[in-house]
């Protein structure tokens, strides 16, 4: 992580070549240091997870327009760009003003099982307007950032529903809400156990209930699962329910939590 930001980095970092498109450059001229990739290492992310990481760029003494960044995703890594585009630019604009800095956001997903770090190659291009004549030169930079990986440890998810209530007279669908904690869980299946006499039903008369949005639960994502409770054989009162959430995929396992059932 770049703590900040010595301007000298612009001279020292591996830099960009400026390529004149509108005129002849001296044959052996040194490449112009128009821009620099200032981020060397991003904050760490979980293997198996998805995160928006940022890379910072600095401009030297020229304002760079049409700033465009693409990344080459290595195996086991996918890269997405803001708003589903095919490339990224800078935050809030595509202009990197002279002697300032700005950043590019990239959505990076890393497969489970990867360890160590990901080296993400980046390619940046830009234009430089040369006066009022609108003649432009272009430049580009190839660099890379390192994304350290960590392995998630901790509970796979949280059961955020603590209690449900159903009338004794009428079988009722209730929502059980879960929030993902592990980077991603797939094929999530919810089942409920309760006191003798309680009849639990699932969608389509199945043996479990899935999640409402889809079968995937990402870290921080909240979703709900519906179960049908028939408490007609139970006296009014409060009963403990056991909620079991099974998941498969790269991380496979079972989460067990408790919910209070009130029969009225």
């Amino acid at each position: 992580v770049l703590a900040r930001r010595p301007r000298q980095l612009l001279a020292a970092a591996a830099l960009a070549s400026g390529v004149l498109t509108g005129g002849a450059a001296p044959a052996l001229a040194a490449p112009a240091a128009d821009a620099a990739l200032l981020t060397v290492t991003t904050p760490a992310m979980d293997a198996g997870g998805t995160a928006w990481v940022s890379v910072t760029w600095g401009a030297d003494n020229k304002t760079l327009t049409d700033f465009t960044v693409t990344a080459t995703a290595p195996a086991g890594v996918t890269v997405g760009y803001p708003a589903g585009r095919r490339a990224s630019s800078l935050y809030g604009s595509s202009t990197l003003v002279k002697r300032t800095e700005d950043f590019t956001a990239l959505q990076v997903s890393v497969a489970y099982g990867r360890t160590g770090s990901v080296v993400l190659p980046l390619h940046a291009t830009w234009s430089i307007e040369k006066g009022a004549g609108k003649e432009k030169s272009t430049g580009s930079l190839d660099g890379s950032v390192t994304i350290p990986l960590k392995t998630y440890t901790g509970p796979a998810l949280q059961l955020t529903t603590t209690s449900v209530q159903v009338p004794k007279a009428t079988p009722t669908w209730v929502d059980l809400r879960v929030t993902g904690a592990a980077p991603s869980l797939t094929d999530v299946r919810v089942t409920v156990g309760g006191p003798a006499g309680l009849v639990v039903g699932y969608p389509a008369d199945g043996a479990f209930s899935g999640l409402d949005a889809d079968a995937l639960l990402l870290a921080g994502e909240s979703d709900r699962s519906g179960v049908r409770l028939d408490a007609s054989a139970l006296p009014p009162g409060t009963y403990p329910l056991t909620v079991t959430v099974a998941y498969t995929g790269a991380i496979a396992g079972t989460f067990t939590g408790g919910v209070s059932l009130r029969v009225s």
């Binding site: 900040r4 930001r5 991003t42 995160a51 928006w52 327009t65």
Partner: protein, 111 residues
């Protein structure tokens, strides 16, 4: 006596009106003076520099979280995201504002 009283009241009202107008004029000049505008763009530059620090130090779960972090930082200074956008769009055409940002970027990031 009554006429004098009415005249005194009228004079008092006129004085109050003059004072109120003077106060408004003073307040208006305090918020729109060149110095105040410079202070505001310097604050925006500082917020932008701190936002750059934040994105270097943190990954975000969603694209919207990046904007939310900026908005939170702006609102803590009494600024809106729209104000920030206008300022950001103006940077390329204002050497003075760009220099303010350059100066703000020279400060170390908070730990």
């Amino acid at each position: 006596v009554s006429r004098n009283l009415r005249a005194a009241r009228l004079l008092g009202l006129v004085l109050l009106l003059v004072l109120a107008l003077a106060g408004c004029a003073s307040s208006s000049s305090a918020t729109s003076s060149p110095a105040a505008a410079t202070d505001r763009t310097a604050t925006l530059a500082e917020v932008q520099a701190l936002h750059l620090c934040a994105v270097q130090q943190t990954n975000f779960a969603s694209e919207g979280d990046i904007k939310d972090a900026l908005v939170t930082r702006l609102e803590a200074r009494g600024l809106s995201y729209e104000t920030w956008r206008d300022w950001h769009d103006s940077l390329a055409g204002s050497d003075a504002r760009a220099e303010q940002l350059t100066a703000a970027l020279a400060a170390p990031c908070p730990e």
